[in-house]
Amino acid sequence: MPTLHEYLFLAAALFSIGLAGVLTRRNIILVLVGIEMMLNAANVNLVAFWRYGDAAATDGVMLVLFGIAIAGAEAAVGLALIIAVYRRFRTSRLEEVAGLKG
Amino acid sequence: MIALPEIHFCLVSALTFLPLLGALALFLVRADDATSCRRIALAASSAPILLALRLLHDFDLAAPGLQFTTRVPWISFLGIDYHVGVDGLSLALLLLVSVLAPLTIFGSVGHTAGLDARPRDARAFFALMLVEQTGLYGTFTALNFFHWFIFWEASLVPMFFLVKMFGGKGRTAASYQFFVYTFLGSVAMLLGMQLVYLATGTWDLLDLARMGAEIPEKLSNFARSVGLERFAAAAPRTVFLMVLIGFAVKVPMWPLHTWLPRTYGQAPIAGAILLTGLMSKMGVYGLLRIVLPLFGTEMAQLATPLMLFALATVLLGAWTAAAQKDLRGLISYSSVSHLGYCLLGVFAVGAATGRFEEKALALNGVIFQMVAHGLSATGLFYFAGAIEARFGGCDYDRLGGLRRSAPVFAGLMGLLAFAALGLPGLAGFVGEFMIFRGVFGLSGAIACAAVLGLLLTAFYLLTMLGKIFFGPAIPETSDLTLRERAVAAALSAGLFLFGVLPEPLIRLSNAAVSSLVRRLG
């Protein structure tokens, strides 16, 4: 059985990878991809804490459940926004979408 | 299989918010598709009936306290909980809403819904009706003043739009007057209740009711603590009057009633039905739920002038109704007059002296009268709409002898009118008898004076019947449609049933009323 540390390190690594995606990719969709990865890493942490902590305390698990649901909504809305942005600016490159005015 | 009672924790909330969901669901169909909108709205509006029946089935009639309560912390640092529940005071009204709102939506065709003039806004109309229903449910079930007030206002706003969008010629002025008038009352009430909160530290109506007699003391102390020494003595009374005004406008009590005839006169019929059949009950209910338990001492001091105001409401309302030249005006003022009986009952109970039995009788009568009036006034307004739809108006001048061509109409209208004037065998009588019987024991002179209202009611209602249905036939018209018959038959059945067998309805409220009266002392 791996230790909690290993899970946490793995999650931290995955989180950092996601962050790197967010910070470096040019395409909005891939930025979103990075965000999803970060969320997933966080979820792993929560579940690991449940697994290694008090089994009766299910709040972390509930949070993961809600997190997944929110991620679903977020993905839908985010992608809808991206499509809208795409239609507005005719691009999905983040740097070109810098105007704050509509 | 999950054990049955588990649904109880959300029964009331589900009941409250189902119509709201329906209002959202309405946006699935086109805005001008009145038929689909009505069907959806009817489904959403009548779905709570099932829940209400379940609630009725599981309701413990012998228990005086609140049942089906849900209390979830909401904004804890302000002492605000989401706290709902049902007891005998609200159960009958809850059922009334559950029946009347779907019935109104069912009957909302063409003119009744004000859709003849604005056929493109059918969806908005039904959505507003559903929101209104949620507001009513919420008002009758909320136990924390904070969200109680939200529901209270939430039932005001859709009505404003109903009048504004679907009303008659003078709808704009009427809607603004309605809104500003009732809103001012609400603001006064809110300010008063904020002072109560500051003095007591809780919004919860149950907690406040438990404090009861200590509230004036606390208000005075609070005034003192913020340096208003000279105001301390007058603080409880001021707060009481502020709160009272909020309810008195809604009921309405003379002389705060002038928004009513104009609003009723301009509102679409369906809106008027909700106004008179249900919303006016909110004020009386507020008196029962908030004013009586919280301001018992203040009320006892002011009981006599208040009863005189109630008397004025009864008599002047009736006299003014007799002077009206059209059906709507008459029903509007008759509503004022009839709710005056309820006020009379509540204020008489508020007086400190009196025997338990009479107080209980008067309060039970108030609740009974609310239901009875809800049914009969709904029917009358609905028929006013039926007449308007046929003749473009309900002035007496252009009507007469309708019974010849519309016998069923005449018969059912007569039945509703007689129910309104308190004919025994129909529900109105039982309510009035109980109120009078109770008030007579508490304050005989005023009861005797108020009895004159019975005569006046008979006078104007019979005059109305005579002018519309009897005499030589001036216009020819079609009799009631099947839909109209169904609505009227349902209402008549209710009136007849409770008129002959009042026991089931009274039993709903008796335990709660008894405990309330006992607490008042």
Binding site: A12, L14, R51 | -
Partner: protein, 170 residues
């Protein structure tokens, strides 16, 4: 168990890195899907198989499809991502920063004591979770329902707008 964990570690790290580094965006998306599946596997190893299945269902089944669609809609499908610079201008600072984040996190983790795993593995009480959803967590649950509905409607609105645009063009 240990073997599985090591395998999954490599799997997730590799697909994560692929997902953020491939030039071809479809490959990125596919790597992301693989990453999601890896996370699901991780959850399985944590004996939270319910969550793992949910992860599969939602992320692999739904969100990844959304992402693929978005990619195809915002690009001309025939020339997906082969050309142009895939990374933004400040990419190096981004890499550095995220590496720094990892270092700080790792350093912090390193200093924390952790408990040993309980044995046997606790079972995830699915029925209990369901009950909690409608009792203790009822309000967030309802809020979530509302949110999802809103998201659904919002996405539908976007689609409708699009179709009307199409119609105008035609």
């Amino acid at each position: 168990m240990r073997t599985a964990f090591i395998l999954i570690t490599f799997w997730t790290l590799a697909s994560g890195l692929l997902a953020i580094s491939r030039r071809n965006m479809i490959h990125c998306a596919l790597a992301l899907i693989s990453f999601f599946a890896g996370i699901a596997a991780l959850l399985f190893t944590l004996s939270a198989d319910f969550l793992g299945a949910v992860q599969l269902l939602i992320y692999v089944g739904a969100i990844s499809v959304l992402i693929l669609f978005a990619l195809l809609v915002t690009h001309d499908a025939s020339r997906l991502g082969d050309r142009g610079a895939p990374f933004s201008r400040g990419k190096w600072s981004g890499w550095m920063l995220s590496a720094l984040v990892f270092v700080v996190l790792g350093f912090g983790l390193h200093r924390v004591a952790v408990p040993p795993p309980p044995d046997p593995a606790p079972a995830l009480p699915v029925a209990e979770i369901g009950r909690l959803l409608v009792t203790r967590h009822a309000v967030p649950f309802l809020a979530m329902a509302l949110l999802l509905t809103a998201a659904l409607v919002g996405s539908a609105l976007v689609a409708i707008e699009e179709s009307s645009e199409h119609a105008r063009k035609e």
